[in-house]
């Protein structure tokens, strides 16, 4: 994503902020919406949600073939955050053979890539520990 694209979702991305459709409960993230992708309400009534920085692995793969710049094998998951949004997430601090469907994971701030020399940050996920959460915000 280019700098303006990242800037437009800066708040949602950095602080895990979503928007819940008051009609059907679907949560928009990371983009701010005026229509609901699930119930088609247009305009929809959205309320801001501070997303809990953890969720569950809905499914996963272990990436063996990727463009340069990725460490492989890389476990990659569809994560459903506790408040509903579904996102793609790279798993860190987790051996590929230890990943399971249904596994609890927590958001972990990381450098995602560099664009014109500037690092762009977002969250990866790691197995959720029972210790006080340090992930997310």
């Amino acid at each position: 994503m280019t700098a303006p694209e990242v800037w437009r979702i800066a708040r949602e991305n950095a602080r895990l902020v979503g928007y819940r459709c008051t009609q059907c409960g679907w949560v928009a993230f990371p983009e701010r919406k005026r229509v609901c992708k699930r119930c088609r309400a247009a305009p929809a009534d959205f309320e801001e949600v501070k997303l809990k920085p953890y969720g569950q692995v809905l499914s996963y793969v272990v990436q063996h073939r990727l463009p340069a710049g990725f460490e492989t094998p890389l476990p990659l998951a569809v994560v459903e955050l506790a408040d509903g949004p579904r996102v793609y997430g790279h798993l860190v601090e987790c051996a590929p053979e230890d990943v399971e469907v249904g596994m609890e994971v927590e958001a972990d701030l990381r450098v995602m890539y560099e664009e014109n020399g500037a690092r762009v940050y977002s969250y990866k996920f790691r197995p959720r520990s029972l210790e006080p959460s340090r992930g997310g915000s």
Partner: protein, 388 residues
């Protein structure tokens, strides 16, 4: 209630080139080849001057961002040419647009070409994966997108990698016999299972190759079809839908396929049981398995039975992907849907040679495309028949 498409459009010519790593042929060369083959396939002949409009389905802007490249490839300047792009459903959507145009009565005879030059840039789709994305699509290659479905499907239904691998074995067996296929090698179950992983649980043989290719169809109003052939193939139904998993639902099915199939079946007035032969989207082994279920050929979680019981083999009751599918024939994105229709045209006319199935009356074609950084899909389904 809208009238639908049934019996309004017909295919009277179909041609393609052999798919493969075509380093010595440009995008325009390939389009030209498919076009000439389609023209020459018309039983009673067809004068290029009769073609009133054309649609080009292609994804990469190898020939620029317009349909003009089709004019350069075919000489068909001055008529309307529209470039269509809809991920891996690009070719079938181009065909769909042509059918709608003919059915509307605006044109009598039109050309549809699907083409893709994959090998002018190295690395295939994996190297083109999005790497600078947040939350969506970062490092989510196509093998990953479908591998995520495979993991979810195996988990939910207790299906093994072996059962999924049967798709690859069947399709490579068919592809080895199909004249236009890119890969003409059979593979064993062990070959599939022992191959290196691309995106676990999917290995190399679970994935389609990187392929160049083009295919073309001549579509006309059903009313004048017999002018070109005594044996036209009629379009009975067409459906297209989109979806995103971010809306909810589990990851073991493609709702866009279900919706598109529902639209097409209703328009055609048939049920899944009526389908005699099908070319369905098998960009990856798991895709075909899930699509059996989404298209109504099997109950959810029971798709593997069609393979285990031989039902979908070339000689089975419901042969699926006699061409070898995308896994063996190859998947030049924009060409794929059109090539599937070319093959089904030949099947319905009894001209499919080494992969001819027994006396089909009704055929189904299906694509799934992935879009918007691996967060959305498009499903497209067509139903063809020997009678309008």
């Amino acid at each position: 209630m809208a009238e639908g498409l049934r019996g309004k459009a017909a295919i009277v010519g179909a041609g393609m080139i052999r798919f493969g790593e075509l380093y010595d042929r440009s995008l325009e060369d390939m389009i030209e080849g498919a076009y000439l083959n389609a023209l020459q396939s018309v039983d009673k002949g067809l004068d290029p001057q009769e073609i009133e409009a054309a649609w080009l389905g292609t994804v990469y802007p190898v020939g620029g961002n317009s349909g003009v490249v089709l004019g350069h490839a075919t000489g068909l300047f001055e008529i309307p040419i529209t470039r269509v792009e809809n991920a891996c459903a690009t070719g079938s959507d181009a065909f769909r647009q042509a059918c709608l145009a003919v059915a509307s009565g605006v044109y009598d005879l039109v050309l549809v070409v699907g083409a893709e030059k994959m090998h002018d840039e190295p690395g295939g789709l994996i190297q083109r994966a999005d790497v600078k994305k947040l939350w969506m699509g970062r490092g989510v290659t196509m093998p990953a997108f479908f591998g995520l479905r495979a993991t979810a499907y195996m988990e939910k239904y207790g299906i093994s990698r072996e059962q999924i691998a049967l798709v690859s074995v069947k399709n490579h067996k068919n592809g080895a016999r199909y004249p236009y296929a890119h890969l003409k090698v059979e593979c064993s179950l062990e070959d599939v299972l022992n191959a290196s992983y691309v995106s676990y649980p999917l290995g190399l043989y679970d994935c389609c190759p990187v392929t160049d290719g083009a295919a073309a169809l001549l579509v006309c109003s059903a009313k004048i079809a017999k002018r070109y052939t005594d044996d036209p193939v009629y379009v009975l139904g067409s459906g297209l839908a989109t979806e995103s998993f971010v809306r909810g639902g589990d990851l073991t099915s493609f709702p866009a396929t279900k919706r598109a199939a529902q639209q097409a079946y209703e328009m055609a007035g048939i049920t899944p049981e009526d389908v005699d032969v099908a070319e369905i989207h098998d960009c990856f082994s798991i895709t075909e398995l899930i699509s059996y279920e989404d298209l109504g050929f099997a109950e959810p979680g029971r798709g593997a039975r069609l393979l285990e019981e031989g039902i979908v083999e070339l000689e089975g009751e419901k042969p699926i992907n006699p061409s070898g599918g995308l896994l063996a024939k190859g998947h030049p994105l924009g060409a794929t849907g059109v090539a599937q229709l070319v093959e089904l045209y030949e099947q319905l006319r009894g001209e499919a040679g080494p992969v001819q199935v027994k006396d089909p009356e009704i055929a189904l074609q299906h694509n799934i495309g992935i879009g918007r950084f691996a967060t959305g899909s498009v499903g497209c389904v067509h139903i063809l028949g020997r009678e309008p």
